[in-house]
Amino acid sequence: MIRYAIKRLLLAIPTLFVMLTAIFVLVRLVPGDAAAVILGDQASEASLRALRTTLGLDQPVYMQYLSFIGDVLTGDLGRSLSSGRSVGQEVLLVLPYTIELTLAAIVIGVALGLPLGIATAVRRNGWVDYAGRLISLVGLSFPAFVSGILLLIVFAIQLGWFPVLNSGSSGDPIERLRNLALPAFNLGIIMMAYVVRVTRSSMLGVLGEDYIRTARAKGVRPGRLVIRHALRNGLIPIITVVGLYFGTLIGNSVLTEIIFNRPGLGKLILGALNARDYTLLQGLMIIFAICVIAVNTLTDLAYGLVDPRVKYK
């Protein structure tokens, strides 16, 4: 297992380089002069030149690339053009909110989706199955902003159980949870819908396997049969979906943060776009890339934990 883990971690390094290079090229592909885009048409030649020097745009491309990689590796993502603070600082300030939201959504999605998915598979074609499939279909067909607004109208405005305007930043843990509840639920339903689907199909496949019959022939009772024998074997596709969906989740969390007016990467991105804050955007892209690579690596590690055969491939 340790050798497998090290191999996976080493594999993440080239992936990271490819991503960084792609971001570098993408940003350089922005048509026209970046300095002019940032400063606008009215800028003087002197200030344009000054900005080009600060951004390193007057250097040859390979030098720009090397210093870009060097900066990223030393953790220097540059300075935000609008606030003047370092990009790292800007991101660290709000990152905990987004992580909190994303993790809460995953927990909700898995905690609801996994048992429901298992139940639909075990009671195939029964009413639980139809109900579960319906819930999953509804969860998948509502765009995050529609369900977000619906949740706000019902639970915040009508029932008043949760705050409408969400500061997210309260120090009081209860208050913080109340702030978190609706947006996390909003994202969690989508997660749950995916988890129900993949759990159902994965478990249906596994429950038809020969070794499940072997376990029944040993006298294993239904509860243990499903949890001990079937679930672990059905887990790989479920982990894959949770891992893959993580990327989508970050995208959806941007939307959700804006709807619920929560601090987080979502609002930071929106602000950076409005201010044409190009170093901040580049920094955010790098952070996202690192997050996605980290999640993929974790997913691979989870495969190794779940399925003994993975390690030996």
Binding site: N125, E209, D210, Y211, K218, G219, R221, N233
Partner: protein
């Protein structure tokens, strides 16, 4: 030899049905068989003749939807297994009746070590601690002659060859010292030398554990090697029942005769093996009369009218479901 022994398992009038296109069709019909203590009963027949369905019916391991036991009893230790609750049934499974399956490659759980899988039945049925159960699992692995068992105990199934996995399956089945072992083509997927080793081992273990064995196979060579009695199945029915010696010396049913001709033998060239023309009728299209009639060289017009009954043939305990043959021997 079985007359003076107690009956271990007694199947009476078993009928197992599958739902196909909204209707129930029998895959096993009017099947009565008994197995004496310490006896090995072989069930032979071509693919699709209902051998596996019979074994699965005994332990009620058929798919929960679309399959049912339509009639009959399975008497074991004074109880009718078909009447037990699912809970009572699971305390019989793997405990007093165990089963080995055909596919060693897919019948073991890929995410549990073989030790855990062997120990599981012991913890379930004997209430043993995990440590005790694992110690017993190790003893069983040694008993089925897995080389360096101590280190293999914590290995996963994919680290074993087919023959070794089948030994693991046998160890699993023996874990609670069952009275009856149902072995559904346990050696079919293995190559010939490994097959012989596993068979020999099963035979030794049967003696050591004092079990009754129901051995399912379509290979008559295997039957000759290990069985005391043989039931020949065709299209869900027993068509002939005899001791091994009687079956090979004096096969009664035309289907048995045809099966014997498909069997490779040392005294005959392989080219003279004759496959039986035609195939087993599907469960959805069973003929009215004798199910074998369409393939039978002895067929009479009357064969297609009425389903023949299983009736005594010449030797003791020898029964056959063929009026034409019965007629011949009497006349």
């Amino acid at each position: 030899m079985q007359q003076n022994q107690e009956t271990a398992l007694d199947i009476r009038g078993l009928r197992t049905e599958f739902k196909v296109g909204g209707r129930w069709y029998p895959a096993v019909r009017d099947l009565s068989l008994d197995v004496a203590e310490n006896e090995t009963l072989a069930i032979v027949g071509e693919s699709g003749s209902g051998k596996s369905v019979t074994a699965l019916s005994i332990l009620r391991l058929l798919p929960q939807a679309g399959a049912r036991i339509g009639a009959g009893e399975v008497l074991f230790e004074g109880r009718d297994l078909t009447k037990l609750s699912e809970r009572e049934m699971s305390s019989v499974r793997g405990n007093s009746i165990a089963m080995i399956f055909q596919e060693p490659m897919t019948s073991l759980n890929p995410t549990m070590t073989v030790g855990e899988q062997i120990a599981e039945a012991i913890t379930i049925h004997r209430g043993a601690s995990q440590a005790d159960a694992m110690a017993e699992a190790l003893r069983l692995l040694k008993e089925v002659k897995i080389p360096s068992a101590d280190s293999r105990l914590h290995d996963y199934p994919h680290q074993f060859s087919g023959g070794m996995r089948q030994r693991v399956m046998i160890a699993m089945a023996l874990a609670c010292r069952p009275k009856v072992l149902l072995a559904d083509e346990p050696t079919t997927a293995l190559d010939v030398t490994i097959q012989a080793q596993v068979l020999m081992q099963l035979d030794e273990l049967k003696e050591a554990y004092g079990m009754s064995v129901v051995f399912i196979t379509h290979n008559l060579g295997v039957v000759a090697q290990i069985a005391d009695r043989v039931a020949v199945m065709y299209a869900g029915e027993v068509v002939e029942l005899a001791t091994v010696d009687a079956l090979f010396a004096n096969p009664a049913h035309p289907y048995t005769v045809a099966l014997l001709r498909t069997m490779p033998r040392a005294d005959r060239a392989t080219e003279s093996l004759e496959p039986i023309p035609g195939s087993v009728p599907p469960v959805t299209a069973m003929p009215e009369g004798c199910a074998y009639a369409s393939r039978c060289p002895l067929k009479q017009p009357s064969c297609e009218d009425k389903r023949p009954e299983l009736l005594p043939f010449d030797g003791p305990g020898h029964q056959v479901r063929c009026p034409v043959r019965l007629e011949q021997t009497r006349g």
